[in-house]
């Protein structure tokens, strides 16, 4: 086994006039847990579905395990596992029946019973899929993705709709995959998920690669020149910038009542900030400089920032 698990070079996919994926390049090493992060419509699912062989690329090269997913699909499909963003399960089957069916597609499948226990669905063995909760259906879908003992596993928003307990349990399963040497490509909205699980993360924005690296690298970023603050209510960005002697674009709104100010922190900055907020009748709830969270990094990198949270 040599070469990376996945190689994407100059990938382009156009729907009508819209470029869903616009010159994307990245490599995923074998055994890596790789995260694709980005706002809705950034091109994450399109990229994953090209890798899975569902769609063809308009331009660029894509290789999964050294094979072209468009041309070598039948060979590849014995070696990959897929979890769709939603659906993909027969509503009329019970979990063990569904897993046994999927196991029959492969020459050397994993044990369906073991997988049922692994994803915590032993209690709903006799419940038809149509009556499972969203989170339970997701976990069954994950088990179905694993039943063929895949070398590469694609998980499209694997924990969407799961309660916190199931989410953590799913993270443990993904960590288990990494320990078993399985390459995992996952898309997610959850910064905490990416931070917890991924060896490396690619941040995609408008079909382009905005940043790539380990979560630690992305969080470090240029944060030494930034101050993150959280306030009790909204702050006038222009007034705040003026009080600190900065241009208005030095203050970014990164969430509800959360701002990142591009400034090198020092005692005078903190006192000017506190004085300004006090004058405006706003309470400073939090202040941090240096290390930023992946979420802040994400908003910073995807520039959109203002208002909408992922």
């Amino acid at each position: 086994m040599s070469g990376p698990a996945i190689r994407v070079r100059g990938l382009v996919k156009t729907y009508g006039r819209r470029r869903a994926v616009d010159g994307l390049s990245f490599t995923v090493e074998r055994g890596e847990v790789f995260g694709l992060l980005g706002p809705n419509g950034a091109g994450k699912t399109t990229t994953v579905e090209i890798l899975e062989g569902y769609r063809s690329a308009d331009a660029g090269d894509v290789e999964v395990l050294g094979l072209d997913p468009a041309g070598r699909g039948p060979e590849l499909r014995t070696r990959i596992g897929v979890m769709l963003q939603e659906g993909g399960l027969y509503p009329g089957l019970r979990p063990p029946e569904l897993l046994r069916l999927f196991a029959a597609y492969f020459d050397d499948p994993d044990d369906p019973e073991r997988l049922l226990t692994l994803v915590g669905l032993d209690d709903v063995r006799s419940v038809p899929v149509r009556r499972l909760s969203g989170g339970q259906a997701q976990r069954l879908s994950l088990a179905a993705a694993l039943v063929g003992r895949p070398e590469v596993c694609f998980l499209d928003e694997p924990t969407a709709g799961m309660d916190p307990h199931a989410r953590v349990a799913t993270w443990d399963i993904v960590r288990g995959l990494r320990e078993a040497g399985v390459t995992v490509v996952l898309t997610t909205h959850g910064m905490d998920e990416a931070e917890q699980l991924c060896d490396r993360v690619a941040i995609i924005d408008a079909g382009r690669l905005a940043a790539i690296g380990t979560p630690a690298e992305l969080m470090r970023g240029t944060a030494s020149g930034e101050v993150w603050i959280e306030t009790s209510e909204a702050v006038d960005r222009a007034a705040l910038a003026a009080a600190l002697g900065l241009a208005v674009d030095a203050v970014h709104e990164v969430g509800e009542n959360e701002y990142v100010v591009t400034v090198v922190i020092g005692p005078e900055v903190v006192s000017a900030l506190a004085a300004h907020l006090a004058g405006a009748g706003v309470t400073l709830l939090g202040l941090r400089s240096g290390r930023r969270s992946l979420e802040e990094a994400f908003f910073h990198i995807t520039s959109g920032g203002a208002g909408e949270r992922a």
Binding site: E52, G53, Y54, P74, R77, T78, I80, V82, L84, E86, G87, G88, L89, Y90, P91, G92, L93, E97, R100, L101, F102, A104, Y105, F106, A144, G148
Partner: protein
């Protein structure tokens, strides 16, 4: 082709089909109900037949095949498309050819069950099983291909709910125009002429001719073959795997 995969797929599809109550109503209860009702309540007085059952059994066989191949297969496939099952299967080693083979095996197996039940009930009602069975079975197979093509064409192009309505609606229309429960001659001339171009009447007339051993209706046979060619071709041309 992965034999184990196709076998498991066919077995599971058959299991799901037997579990769907509404499917059993259309594929078994309605055909058998029509057979018993029209045999007992002789509203049709099928002219030219020794007894009503000689007319009814072939018609009900055609009706059952239409229900299994068009309604049952079409509706199930439409919902599999809606729920992303077809898409998900596209990422497994089960090929499209394998899936199609499994679905074919499922439909044919289920039809064997239908035919056995209809022939048994018919015999209990006093029908004597004639010798022309192979010809009739061949025509039923052709009909299966035609109706499966129609069912899959609708399943692969319409939204799941629209497909559900269309399949059931078409089933009803073709039952009325199919020469199944009463002879086509009872219809107004223009309607009867139109009905003869449709696969339902073509199927029931050819199956009936096969079973009664009367002169084989070449025109109806040509219509049946045409549908058995055109419908699957159209389905394979326009079937969209994702809704």
């Amino acid at each position: 082709m992965r034999r184990r995969a196709v076998t498991a797929q066919a077995r599971t599809e058959l299991l799901m089909q037997l579990r769907r109550g509404e499917n059993l109503v259309v594929t078994l209860a309605i055909p058998l109900g029509i057979l018993v009702f029209f045999a007992k309540v002789d509203t049709v007085a099928a002219e030219g037949y020794d007894q009503p059952l000689d007319f009814l059994v072939p018609g009900v066989l055609a009706l059952a095949v239409m229900a299994a191949a068009m309604v049952s297969l079409g509706i199930a496939t439409g919902f599999e498309r809606r729920y992303g099952v077809l898409k998900r299967l596209g990422a497994t080693p089960l090929s499209r050819a394998g899936l199609l083979l499994a679905k074919t095996a499922t439909v044919v197996t289920f039809e064997a069950l239908q035919i056995a039940l209809i022939v048994t009930v018919g015999a209990l009602l006093g029908w004597s099983v004639p010798s022309g069975l192979p010809v009739a079975l061949g025509c039923l197979l052709l009909g299966t291909v035609a109706f499966a093509g129609i069912g899959l064409l609708m399943a692969g192009t319409l939204r799941a709910e629209a497909n559900l309505a269309a399949a059931n609606g078409l089933f009803l229309v073709l039952l009325f125009l199919g020469g199944m429960a009463y002879p086509l001659e009872r219809l107004p001339d223009g309607v009867a002429a139109f009905a003869r171009m449709l696969p339902a009447a073509a199927l029931s007339e050819t199956v009936r001719a096969g079973l009664t051993g009367s002169g084989f209706p070449a025109g109806e046979f040509v219509v049946l073959v045409a549908w058995a060619l055109a419908a699957p071709l159209a389905a394979s041309r326009w079937f969209n795997w994702e809704e």
